[in-house]
Every structure is written in structure tokens, then in C-alpha cells.
Symmetry: C2
């Protein structure tokens, strides 16, 4: 499956989307292109659940357009899936046959259970949560799952989505509280069918356009310094507050809210109402946004099948491998640097130079594996590029704060410069994070130079105390030359950061230059 192009087209009740992927070596993949068209198929269902002729024509045409895009990339396989609006349509066969006749793409109508399962697969392979509820508010239905220790336990599908619920209830603008109450009752009646939801107290993961909009609006209001939705966390109460806010506004005014797109202004009340009811029913510990959903679940299923696995054993490792492929990074060099920084971290923890923290280790892992990414933009200002890219690439299994720390580690030059660069990110960081960043920054800075020429010359690195003196002992297979010289430059910064004398020794002995 090397370097093969695949696409997934998701014929949803609100919009049709395509994502084109390239499958690379050893189960890696890269997103090549994506496009969305708002078809609102739900609105083209008449009172007898028949998709109107206009609705059919429109859908056939949009799928045809996406086929064009796929063709322009030489996509070899297109997976087409259809959800709620097609599920309920009495003339679904006609629609699918006409799509097939026009485009050659055979769409599969997936069940609510399958849809829910794809959402679950996307979540547990991209968010570091052991237990949780996924809620995917679509246009025509909402899919819910409950997972424990990353295993799927329950699923639910309720026949209301942001579009269909709006269609059924909202006739007034702004939404009067009576209407909201009626909507809530309808949702509650549906949720009553799944008593296992009640009071689980776990995190609720929101998927789909409504959840993304909630996160965008929230980030916009608090001027959140990162432009990352996936993994963003909110209090359930904040979702309720947002629902109250949008209810009280006419549609026209809503579309002026920062983060809310005009085409969602009318259906946002219904969408948030569903999320809000689920959060309340579960008594959720927190609300977490997932930018990954159905399409990603389909992709991950393919990847897992290739790898012969049920779940990704380590989403962080997998996402780093994807980034290495995407940016053509020198993977051997990255692995060598992480081997050495990991060793040195353990040594420093052993000698009480650093506290023992799995979070710190994870940050150093990410920073070590991706420390060269900025060079893909330019060999100048690479630290800035590292910082920018680490906050942008698709990295899973770390929190926003950990990602920020890792980014700052790869951008480290000096304590002064770090403190200046992070001013606008302060709200995300604890005081001790600044110390962590400078310490791990200088650690990575020194170690990465030991493989500056990517020769893998260093076998291991120890920290030891000999006659009251701290020594960093580097075991090398080949002469280090240049690399030793560069490491010695970092040693100056190292002494400043740790405020301890330390000597660098190479075994077998090698003389360094006095530059």
C-alpha cells in the first residue's frame, strides 16, 4: 500500500466532504487535500422522507465534483459512506444508483452503530483518554458511544441532528425559551432510551461541526493563544452558557460572533442543545473537542487493518512517524537524538538534577523527535520555525500545554529569550514549566549537536560524579570532531541554566578545540 492515494467521501446530512490521503511506508499516511460543500440533504427530504429530485441532482453533482478532484490527484480508491439523511430516505437506492451511474462510486449506507463506532475509533486513537463518551452531532442524527480503557462498551444513535432538530422546532428568531424547552424534552426522550448514560462522570468528547464551532467561539472570546481545536477542553457549564447566549440572539446577530460561520448561525441552537443535554445527562467531568470524526475513523480502520491491530498502541509514536514522512525528516537522526536525550534525562533524574515526571519525559520525547522540523522551512530562524510547526502539525497523545512546552524546548536558545517568547502563552503554563523548558531546552540543545552530522557516532551518555566534580561522559564509536566542539558551546549555557560546574568527557578520550 506504499504511496497509494485514497479518498473518503462522507455524504452527511448537512454537508458532503472529501478527504484525500496518501498512504506511505509502514502504515503512515498524509492528508493531501480536503473540500466540503454544504448540501443540506436533510432539507431536501420531503414530509414522506423522499429525497426530492433537486436533492438528488445536487448530490449527484457534488459527488461528481469531488470525483474530479480525486481524479486530478490520481486517487485509486474512493470509499463513499452515507449517513442519516440517506439512511431514512425511502428512495435511497435511487439516489445511490444515480450516483454510481454518474461517478462510478458505490456508496455504502452505514448504520448508526457503524457511524458511532467510527467516531469512537477516531477518538481513542487521537486523544489521550482511557474512558469517555463520544458525541458526534451530525446534520440528521447524533451518534454516541461510551468507551472504557479504550474499549467500546455502548453505543447510541438518536435521530436528531443540528439540521433536523432545527427543522422540527425552530420557527422563531431569536429562539424563545419555550422552543428551547421543547427541543430539550425531545432530546431527553431520546436519551432516556440509554440509561447507561446517566451519571457516568467521565469526559464527553464532542465531534462534528457544532462541537468545533463551540470550541472556536470559546477560544475567540478568551483569546486562546493556540490555534488548535483538537483536544481543547471546556467546562460543561461553559457549553450551557453558550447555549443561552445564542438562544437570545437573532440569527443575523449570531453570524457576527467570532468563530461562528454564517452558514451555521441558524442551526447552532439545536446543535448545542444536543451537546448540552448529553453533558448534563452524563454529568461530564469535562468537554473535550475532537477535530477527528467519521472520516478519520474510516482511515484509521484501514491503517489498523494494515498493521493487524485493534487500536494504535501509541498514538504519539504513530503521529510522530506521520510527521517524519510528511516533512521528509531524517528519522534515524531523530531516533538517535531521542535515544540520547532519554538516557541523559534518566541519568539526571537518578542524580536528582531533575524531578521524575512522565509528562516531562513526553515533552522531551516530542521535542527530540521533531527538533529538526524548522529546517524544512529555512536554515535561518530555525528555532522560530520549530516553535511554529510544533504548534501546527497533527500531533496526538499530548495535551495543549505539553505541546507548547515541547515547542518551546525545540526553540530554546537562552533563558532570557525563552521567557520573552512565551509571554503571550503564560495563561497556559505553570511557573515551573518555564524551568522545565530551559532545562530540557539546554539538554536537547547539547545532545542534538552530538549527532549534528547524523553519523550516529555516540553510543551512550552518562552523568557521573567523580571526586566532587560532575562529568558528562559521552561514549563514542567514531571521533566526534565538529560535534564535540558544538557540544562544548552548549555546555556554557548548560552551566548557566543548572548553575553547576560540569565537564564533558569523551570516551575514548578525544581532544576538543579551544574555539
Amino acid at each position: 500500500m506504499a504511496d497509494e492515494m485514497n479518498a473518503v467521501i462522507d455524504l452527511g446530512s448537512n454537508s458532503v466532504r472529501v478527504v484525500i490521503y496518501e498512504h506511505g511506508p509502514s502504515g503512515t499516511q498524509k492528508e493531501i487535500d480536503t473540500l466540503k460543500q454544504s448540501v443540506r440533504l436533510t432539507s431536501h427530504l420531503d414530509e414522506n422522507n423522499v429525497i426530492t429530485e433537486t436533492g438528488i441532482q445536487l448530490t449527484v453533482q457534488v459527488v461528481g465534483l469531488f470525483k474530479q478532484l480525486c481524479d486530478s490527484y490520481g486517487v485509486v480508491e474512493i470509499i463513499g459512506v452515507a449517513t442519516q439523511a440517506v439512511r431514512v430516505a425511502v428512495n435511497r437506492d435511487e439516489l445511490l444508483n444515480r450516483i454510481f451511474a454518474e461517478t462510478g462510486i458505490r456508496f455504502r449506507v452505514i448504520t448508526g452503530e457503524e457511524e458511532a463506532r467510527y467516531g469512537y475509533l477516531a477518538a481513542v486513537n487521537s486523544l489521550p483518554l482511557e474512558d469517555g463518551i463520544t458525541v458526534d452531532v451530525g446534520g440528521g442524527s447524533t451518534e454516541i458511544t461510551y468507551f472504557r480503557q479504550r474499549n467500546l462498551i455502548h453505543y447510541a444513535s438518536i435521530p436528531y441532528g443540528a439540521v433536523s432538530l432545527t427543522k422540527e422546532f425552530t420557527r422563531n428568531d431569536p429562539t424563545p425559551s419555550k422552543i428551547l424547552e421543547a427541543m430539550n424534552r425531545a432530546i431527553e426522550n431520546q436519551l432516556d432510551r440509554y440509561p447507561w448514560l446517566e451519571g457516568l462522570g467521565c469526559p464527553v468528547i464532542g465531534m462534528g461541526g457544532t462541537a468545533r464551532t463551540v470550541a472556536r467561539v470559546h477560544q475567540d472570546r478568551r483569546k486562546y493563544p493556540l490555534k488548535i481545536l483538537h483536544g481543547y477542553e471546556m467546562c460543561p457549564m461553559e457549553v450551557t452558557a453558550m447555549l443561552d447566549m445564542v438562544c437570545s440572539m437573532p440569527v443575523k446577530k449570531r453570524s457576527k460572533i467570532g468563530g461562528l460561520s454564517g452558514e451555521r448561525a441558524d442551526i447552532i441552537v439545536a446543535g448545542i442543545a444536543i451537546l448540552d443535554q448529553v453533558l448534563k445527562r452524563v454529568r461530564a467531568s469535562k468537554f473535550v473537542i475532537s477535530n477527528k470524526g467519521l472520516r478519520d475513523g474510516i482511515l484509521i480502520e484501514q491503517v489498523l487493518r494494515t498493521r493487524g491491530e485493534q487500536l494504535l498502541p501509541d498514538m504519539l509514536v504513530h503521529s510522530i512517524a506521520n510527521i517524519h514522512v510528511h516533512f521528509h525528516l531524517d528519522r534515524q537522526h531523530a531516533i538517535q537524538v531521542w535515544k540520547l536525550t532519554g538516557q541523559l534525562l534518566s541519568e539526571m533524574v537518578k542524580h536528582n538534577w531533575l524531578p521524575d515526571s512522565s509528562e516531562m519525559r513526553r515533552c522531551l520525547h516530542v521535542a527530540s523527535m521533531l527538533h529538526d522540523i524548522g529546517r524544512t522551512i529555512s536554515i535561518y530562524n530555525t528555532r522560530d520555525h520549530n516553535f511554529y510547526l510544533l504548534l501546527q502539525v497533527p500531533l496526538f497523545g499530548v495535551s495543549h500545554r505539553e505541546r507548547l512546552i515541547a515547542a518551546a524546548i525545540t526553540a530554546f536558545k537562552s533563558t532570557k529569550q525563552t521567557n520573552r517568547a512565551l509571554v503571550s502563552y503564560q495563561e497556559l503554563l505553570e511557573d515551573e514549566d518555564f524551568t522545565t523548558i530551559t532545562r530540557l531546552g539546554v539538554l536537547l540543545g547539547l545532545v542534538k549537536t552530538l549527532d549534528r552530522t547524523s553519523t550516529g557516532a555516540v553510543q551512550s551518555i552518562d552523568l557521573l560524579r567523580d571526586q566532587g566534580e560532575w562529568i558528562l561522559r559521552v561514549h563514542a564509536q567514531k571521533p566526534l570532531g565538529l560535534q564535540l566542539n558544538l557540544a562544548l558551546e552548549w555546555l556554557k549555557e548548560w552551566r548557566k541554566v543548572f548553575q553547576r560546574e560540569i565537564r564533558l568527557e569523551v570516551d575514548p578520550f578525544e581532544q576538543s578545540l579551544g574555539v
Copy 2:
């Protein structure tokens, strides 16, 4: 010369630097790596201009280290050049022979005239100036040229650089005004030998570490929103003010100045004094920083030789071609988009929708040719990536303001979003620039979708008025399908920006979708 690795090692009087390049198709090139070691060869010259044994050993070792780095990239040709410190050394042959014996690299000692010429070549092929003076303050000498209409007219070499002038004069810390006066007199005596410098009134282009430091400190103080040194402009008076400031501070305090590195704190007074004297002698219209210098001059000479040219006919076109290669962009698509945006701009100027401005055209050119660059980072948030990258890539022949406008054009989504995103860049922009950005942003937004599938389907585009109605007429060779649909979405934004009704027509006639 396709995809061949080359390197230039520049054995300067203050530092030794290596740059590794990859030569690509049709005279393009990409910088792969760079490294610097502060050797301060000038300090290793004794009173009889003999390089000490320590100095020789150190230099041989550093060149050996750089050779290691070159080897790790498989560099096939290393060009080694040595400047002032070696020029004046009586035992230069010994040094060069020992370097050759150890590393196999044959260094060429270039004359002051050659050095000056390389600086000139770097400047006139990377800065949009017709006339100017280049001043390259090195460690041991300063090279000056005067060019008119991009042709080299005069050159000068004075035997003082930041290191050698410091060595001769500064014994006190901070620098007393008497010492500064003595330094100034020594510089003036040297400049007196070149009467053609007097009162030219043209821009002075500063090269080398001193000039870069001056720019960095200046940008830091005024919190300049761009992180670009090349092409940065200052008033000559501001250089004098900075000289006064550093003179009045002890070395230790100087190294705390934002933008000034510790290893330059002692020699900065002498370095700025040279720049200041040249600026005064020339009665410079402005001081412009060049990040390009000797090494880039050597590279550009190679490129020009391959192309059979004396000067780059168009540095902007050349730098865009380099960026296309570096980022693996679809050049055919970029050219097609620029063909159409350029046509439409002309049409809009003709019909008085837009003013006629070569600057505006240049911004649209850059934006059109690079509008897809953000996709190399990720297919999500591409507008943000466009904005970031356009402010980072090596783009020559545009001012900082033009580059910012071009970046904002590629990041355009809506007027509201543009105005928000540019808040921190306001000091660089005129009021009308915001209008330019939204207008050209919507123009590019619409046109780029017409080649969304990179099929080159559209031949031309006209703006015309028919029975009181404005029509955008697109002449297509193939059905546009998807692209027409996407263009129609942009037309809504277009109407908002220009506040005029307009219709899109495809010739031959094609029906669009009503999504």
C-alpha cells in the same frame, strides 16, 4: 549541475563560515545547512603579521570540521576563500598549505577588490535598488563599492574591520569620547583616499555582522513586527544614535542589549563607527541592511555563469522559482493562477475598479505565485501557514511592506478577519493597504479556485459591462465543474468587498450548481 551539492567556506578575519547549497534545475538553488565558528584570526596575528602556530592549528581544525559537515551531505565541490587576515599574513602560504594537507581544500585568497565585488553582486541581485553604496564591515577590513543602475562603478577597501580597529584603539571600557574621536579620524583618513564617496546621497547598504547587529537591536527596541533583516531600512541618524549608546556602556552591559550577542559586545563600537563614518561621508539617503554578502556573491556568480548572464534580470522571479523548488510547489498551477489574476487586475484597472499601481501588481504577483505554499505545512489552517511562510521565505525584490501585503492577500478570507489579523502590523501599513489587501484577496481567492484541480482549463478572463450589468467572463477550454462552483462561493465575498453586483459567465456556457 542538477541537484549537485556545493559549499562555500569563507575564512574571515572574525569568523569562519560554511554554507551548503543544492543546485536544482534551471539555475535554482536551495540552502541546505550553515554553520559558523568564531576563530578571530585577526587576534592570532602577531605584531609582525605572522599567524601564530595556535592560530594556524585552530584554523586548520575548524576547516576540518566544516569538511566533515560537507562530507556528511555528500558535497562535491567546496569553494574556499580567505580574506583580510590571511591577505596580510606573511605566512599565509604555510596556513593554506597546511589546510590543504589536512582537508584537501585549496583556499583562494581574494583581493579586497574581489571581496568588494562579491558584496556588490549579492546586493544588486537581492535588493531592489538601482544605485547605492555597499559597505561590508568584516573583522579585518571593510569593503566598499558604488554602483549605478546596478553596474559597479567604484570600489574601495580599507584595512580596518570591527576586530582590527578594536585591537588598535580600544583599551578602555566604556569607550571614552577621545578614543572614539581617534577611531573616527583613522577611518576618515582611509575614506579620504576615495573622494568619489563624498556626498553621493544614495542609499548605503550595510553587510556583515555589525550591520546585522545594528538592525537587530533597532528592531528589538521598536518591537518591529517582522522578523526579517534583509532589506530593513533605517535613518542614518539612528546609526549615529546607536553608536553613542554603545560607547557609553561597559562591554558587560552591552551584551544585555536585546539583539546584541555577547561575542560581539566588545567589537561593536568599532564596527558601528565605520558604518557611521561611511554614512556621513556619503550623506546617505537611508541605511539598508543586507543579510546577503560575500558567500552569496560567490554563489550568485556561479548561478549567473550557468545562466550566461551578468546580473539576474529579475530577482523577484528568480527567488520565487527557488521557493517553488524548495517547497515542491506545483509551478504550472502557480503560473496559471498568476496569468489569470494578472489579466483580471488589468481588466479591473481598465474599468476603474482598481487604481493602476505597479506596487499592487507586484504584491498580487507574489501572492498568486505562492498562494499554495501553506499547504506544504498542512491542509488545515492553510491561510495562517501562507501568512507565516510568506514572511519567512527568501523573497527578493519586494519591500517589507509589499511582502506583508502579499502575505495578507494569500491569507484573505473576509474583510473582518483581515482587519483582525493585521492589528499587530498596523505600523507597517498605510490605511489604503487594508483596502488593497481585501480587494486583491478576493480577486485571488476567486481566481485560484478556477484552477483548483490544476487542469489549466481557463484560458482567459474578462470584465465587461453589458446592459448596465457587470459580468466576469471566463473562457474555458474544458468544463469547469467543481471549480465553477467554488468560484461562485467567492463571488459572494467579492460583492461584499466591491459593493457592486456582478455575474460570472462561462464561455462556452456552462451551468453551475445551486449549492
